[in-house]
Every structure is written in C-alpha cells, then in structure tokens.
Amino acid sequence: MIMPEKRQLTLGQMKVGQTGTVVQVLSDLGFIGHRGSGFMRRHGPGFMRRHGPGFVQRLEALGIRPGKKVAKVSSTLFRGPVTLRVDNAEVAVGFGMANRIIVEVDTST
C-alpha cells in the first residue's frame, strides 16, 4: 500500500486537475513592498499586481477559506488568473492571489 503523501503548495504551484485542502490564505501585508518614492512605487512589479483591499475577506466570502476542499481547474499563460473549483462554484483569482492561497495537496500516487 502506498501511503498518501501530504505536501503544501500554493494554488499557483499546483498542477491543473490537482485537489487539496486550503490551509491558509496569506494576508496582503507582506506585499506592500516598493515603498520607495516616485516611479518604482507606482509602477514597480509589486504595484502592478497587488490585490484589492481585504482580499482575504473577499476570498472567504466566496467560500475560499481554510479547511475547504478545492481543485485547480485551469491556469492561463503569462501568469494570468488561476481558476479553482470550490463546492459547485468556479472562481478565477489573479496569479498573485493564487500564490497566497496555501493548499495541502492530495497525492495518492
């Protein structure tokens, strides 16, 4: 018998078709970087792809919260949004957000 191996990945790292359980959704705080002035602050990479206010709450309201079973449905090219299934709903989240959703992946191979 092969023991199911448990490992944690972000939703962004998961492969399409994989399922797992949400462990944690990292809040926005770590990402406010680029506090420098002028151009970088407005246009730096951290700036271009930041999440809206209170995105942990928004995800929670959509039913994506610790303990929920999720499946990665699709990803898009060029670090585009990731689609996941939670219960009977499909939700598309930006790539940055997808990397803040930590999932304990089911692997039974």
Binding site: R42, H43, F47, M48, R49, R50, H51, G52, P53, G54, F55, Q57, R58, L59, E60, A61, L62, G63, R65, V73, S74, S75, T76, L77, F78, R79, G80, P81, T83, V86, D87, N88, A89, E90, V91, A92, V93, G94, F95, G96, M97
Partner: protein, 568 residues
C-alpha cells in the same frame, strides 16, 4: 411595504424580480449584471408592495461600489427575499445568516432548484426551514416555478436576530446546517461541463475565444445586413418613398416646411442619407440604418451573456487588461459599450477601485463606438470599401490600447487583481433572452428616436439661420489645418454631441474622400461621447474626473486624427 431581493451575485434575482413584478429588467448569466437597484410593484391582496432588485453581494461587508449600494438598501427594507443558489448552498447560506443577524424579516427563495437534480444535489427543504427558522421555498425564476408559493408565504417571513461572535462561528453554523440538509449523489457529466473543461484550457480557451468572437462578428453582420436588405430598405423604398414624394409635390417641392420635413431632393429624388428632413433621414437613420444592427448586436450579446461566456473571456483577457490599468473583468463594461456607452459606464461599478472606474470609463468613451455609430460607419464608410471601415476600427483599437497604457502609467494607484466567480455554462432560457432583446430594442427606440428627430430639426433650423457657417469658420484652422477636412465637418462634430449616428449622417452630403471619411469618423468616435454618456460620466466619476476624461478624449481625438491625416 418594501420587499428587497437580496443574495449572492448571479443567483437569479433579476429573473425573479421580473417574475414577481411583471416589470422586465435585464437578467444575464454573469455576476454583476445589476449594478443599480430597480423598483417594481407586486399586488399583495389589497396592498401594493414595492419590490426592489438589489445588486448581488457575497457579504454585508461591501467590497465594490455595487455591493455598497446593496448594503445601503438594507436599511429601509421591510422584508428581504433572500435569493439562494441551491447548487451552492454553503456559500449562499453565509449571506443568509448575515441577513438573519439583522432586524429585518427574511424569507428564502431556494432558486435554480431545477439545476440541483442533474448536479446530484439533494436538499431537505423542510429541515433547512426548521434550522434557519424562516420559510424556505424552492423556485426556478426563469420558468416561474415556485413563485406563487413564494408570494403566498411572504407574510410568514420572520426576523431571527441570532448573532455570531465571529465569521468563523458563522461558517461553523453554515457547515452544520449544510451537513444536516444536503447530500450529494452520483451524477453524469453534462455536455456543458465538457465545454467548460475545453474553454478552461489555456490553448483550447484561446481557440474557443477566437472562434466565438469570429462567429459573433459574422452573425451580427449577417443578421444586420439581412434585416436591412430584406426588411427595412424594401419597406422604405417601396412604401415610404412614394408617400414622401407625394408629400413633396403637395408641398410644392421646396420651401421652408419642405426642407424641414423632407429636406433636399438629390436629383429630384429622396436620398435617405443626404436629404436630411425629419421624415426622410430623421426616420431612416434610427429605423433602417441603426435598428437592424441594434437587433443583431443585442441578440448576439444576449446569447453570450446568458450562456455565461463573458466571465471566461474576462479571465483570458486579464493579462492584457492589466497593461491598461484594469483587470479582466473590465472587458464586460467594454463589450456592453459596443452596444451603448451609457449602460457601459454604469457597469464599470463592478470594478473595485475609483482608479479602475476612471480608466475604464475614459477608455470606453474614447475607443468603444456604440452600435448606432458603428451601424452608420458601416453604412457610410462601407460604401467606399471594407478596408476603410477596417481603418476606423483599427485606429480606435490601437488608440484604446495606447491610451490605456498611458493612463495606467499616469493615474496614481494600482489595479487590483481579478477575483471573480465563473458561472457554469447554461443554455440561454430563450424566453428570457428574447424579452431582454425586446427590452433593449424598445429602449433604443424610446431613447434615441426623439433625440434623432430633435437633432435633425435643430440642424435644419440652424442651417437656415446660418449659425453653422459661423461655427465652421471659427473652427476652420483646426479642422482643415490639422485634420485635413473641409470646414463644414465641424458641424457634424458638434452634432455628434447630441447623437453620433446623426452626425455621421451629416458627413454624407459633404462628398468627402474615403480618407476624409475615415478621419472624420474616427475623430467623431473619439472626440466627445454623446450627451447621454456625458451625464452618466459626470454622475459616476464626479465633475472633476469627468472633465479630466474629456480632456483626454479631445487630446486623443486630435492627435489620432492629425496622425491619420499625415499617414493617409
């Protein structure tokens, strides 16, 4: 009595509203269809109750402007009909429990009940009712199933006022309710779900997107041209023209009244593009040139909306839209703008930040021509050759991308990431889709016809008074010097403020070259939005941002028109 229809986005509140009140409103299969509340009335015994369709919200702690509207509405509701998507019980019940914490009486409509069966979802309605402590009625809003019972049981709605100390506690309660009332059984994969899988694939999705866009474009053109060729043109040619010619004779083929009603005769005949009388061009533009494309565009849009394709397009477009300072969901207001800019600017409310709404609304006003304008451009510029129509569209699209790119750099703030629910594919409920088309068609006639006729009348009077010569002479240096157009085009550009379709019509008698037509159509599309869009822009963005947007529009139109003049 005030009845509020509340619930998560895309659970069928608008469809239920239409059923309850008989007031038809637009319902579609994507979250964020309704961004403003709509009122209707329902007869309850002797009493006439007010029913309000509230924009969808996932929680009572709002995150977008549309959601703020909903929470604000809750204060003055007497009863809430909480519309719940039966196929997503858990997430929907979270809002239900939040509503139950308030003072207001609640009744639950367990909507999309028909969908639960083929998805293998079984719900014990009696048990759910017992656990929630409020009436629960299974409904199918698009067919009308369960609506009678919902109305009958409305008086049973009660307020429970159970409070939860934290959202975790509330979710725990939701979990316990779901585990006691719902069980899942085996189900088959439907063909809709197979299609979902294909369009979710990065390559398959892009392929499907191209196919859908190409097919949509083809269908719109085919239907629009067919209506013009087989219905409206014959009607005007065989029925209306002989009548007008008789009237023309009766009026003595000239004079003031003749020029107002029928306009100029071109070679002794009525030319519907050039005569410019109230009864000739004034009726031909809205009914024969524009309406066929309104019908074909909104038919195609309605089907795309109801299938549930638009949010998937939003996901595919997300990376590009981020370059323009927006996220993928902004594609939905943009596509609505191809019909009419007014609902499009309203729909920017589904975007999270003020910055995004400003960029989206500005880009729509500049680079997204409405169906009426497009129909006239196709009709007039198309006579010179398809390549010239393509030049207009190409210039608009390139400007849209470049201006978006610049605004993204210039406007302070950031564009938040996409976070949106993707609805399942559904077959369009044909009756609802048909009603929606009818609603948009009659809306166009009611709103556009008076303004078109008014504009034609005013134009005729001002011509007679010589006002236009005065304006034309003032603006001549810009128009002739920069854009290379005869100074009379100024008049058309000014009229564009009233109605763009009439403005394009005014280009017809000027005998412009194909290149001049391209330049004037492009400038006309970009320079100003019509007065109706202006009003909505001012309301949605506020006066200052509206002025900023207008500045961008004028600058962009003159630069692009000037460049076209240099290149062409």
């Amino acid at each position: 009595m005030k009845i509020l229809l509340m619930g998560n986005p895309n659970v069928g509140k608008s469809a239920l509203f239409s059923r309850l009140t008989g007031t038809r409103i637009i319902a579609s299969n994507y979250p964020g269809t309704t961004v403003e509340f709509t009122r209707g009335y329902l007869k309850l015994g002797e009493e006439r109750a007010e029913v309000i369709d509230v924009p969808g919200t996932y929680t009572l702690e709002p995150t977008t402007k549309a959601e703020e509207v909903s929470v604000e509405m809750l204060k003055d509701g007497d009863v809430v009909i909480d519309v719940v998507d039966a196929t997503n019980l858990e997430r929907n019940l979270n809002l239900t429990l939040q509503l139950l914490e308030r003072r207001v009486p609640v009744i639950v409509a367990l909507n999309m009940w028909d969908d639960t069966r083929h998805r293998g979802i079984n719900i014990d309605v009696a048990k759910l009712e017992e656990l929630l402590g409020v009436p629960v009625v299974p409904t199918v809003a698009v067919t009308g199933q369960g609506i009678r019972e919902l109305v009958d049981r409305l008086p049973e709605a009660v307020a429970s006022q159970t409070t939860y100390s934290s959202s975790d506690e509330r979710w725990a309660k939701v979990g316990s309710i779901v585990s006691q009332t719902q069980w899942l059984s085996h189900r088959h994969h439907t063909w809709c779900e197979v299609l979902e899988d294909v369009s979710n694939h990065p390559v398959g999705g892009a392929f499907i997107a191209l196919l859908v866009l190409f097919a949509t474009f083809w269908v719109i053109r085919f239907i629009g041209e067919s209506i013009i060729g087989y219905v409206t043109d014959p009607l005007f040619g065989w029925l209306w023209t002989p009548l007008l010619m008789k009237l023309s004779l009766a009026l003595g083929s000239g004079g003031f009244l003749h020029s107002i009603l029928i306009g100029k005769l071109i070679g002794g005949e009525i030319d519907y593009f050039q005569s410019f009388g109230l009864l000739s061009t004034g009726l031909y533009i809205p009914f024969a040139a524009v309406l066929p494309y309104i019908v074909s565009f909104y038919l195609a849009l309605g089907i795309l909306e109801d299938i549930g394709y638009l949010p998937r397009l939003a996901v595919l477009m997300d990376t590009l839209m981020h370059r323009l300072g927006l996220h993928g969901y902004a594609i939905i207001p943009t596509i609505l703008g191809l019909g009419c800019n007014v609902p499009a600017v309203m729909a920017t409310r589904i975007l999270e930040s003020r910055r995004e709404r400003f960029i989206a609304a500005t880009l729509i006003s500049i680079g997204v021509p409405c169906a009426a304008l497009q129909a006239m451009i196709i009709g007039l510029v198309g006579q010179q050759g398809v390549q010239y129509v393509a030049m207009v569209y190409g210039s608009l699209f390139v400007s849209w991308v470049i201006i978006g790119f610049i605004l993204n750099r210039a406007v302070r703030g950031f564009s938040p990431e996409l976070l949106v629910e993707i609805p399942p594919y559904r077959l369009p409920p044909w009756r609802v889709t048909g009603e929606k088309l009818w609603l948009r068609m009659s809306g166009f006639i009611k709103e556009a016809l008076p303004i078109v006729l008014g504009a034609v009348l005013v134009v005729n009077i001002l011509y007679t008074l010589g006002v236009f010569d005065f304006i034309a002479n003032i603006a001549a240096p810009i128009v002739s010097g920069l854009l290379g157009l005869p100074k009379e085009t100024v008049v058309a550009l000014v009229v564009g403020f009233l109605r763009k379709d009439v403005a394009v019509g005014m280009l017809a008698p000027l005998s412009l070259t194909a290149e001049q037509l391209v330049i004037s159509s492009t400038v006309l599309a970009m320079l100003f939005p019509c007065v109706a869009t202006f009003v909505i822009l001012a309301r949605e963005l506020g006066g200052r941002d509206m002025l900023k947007a207008t500045g961008v529009m004028i600058a962009a139109a003159l630069i692009v028109g000037g460049l076209q003049n240099l290149i062409l």
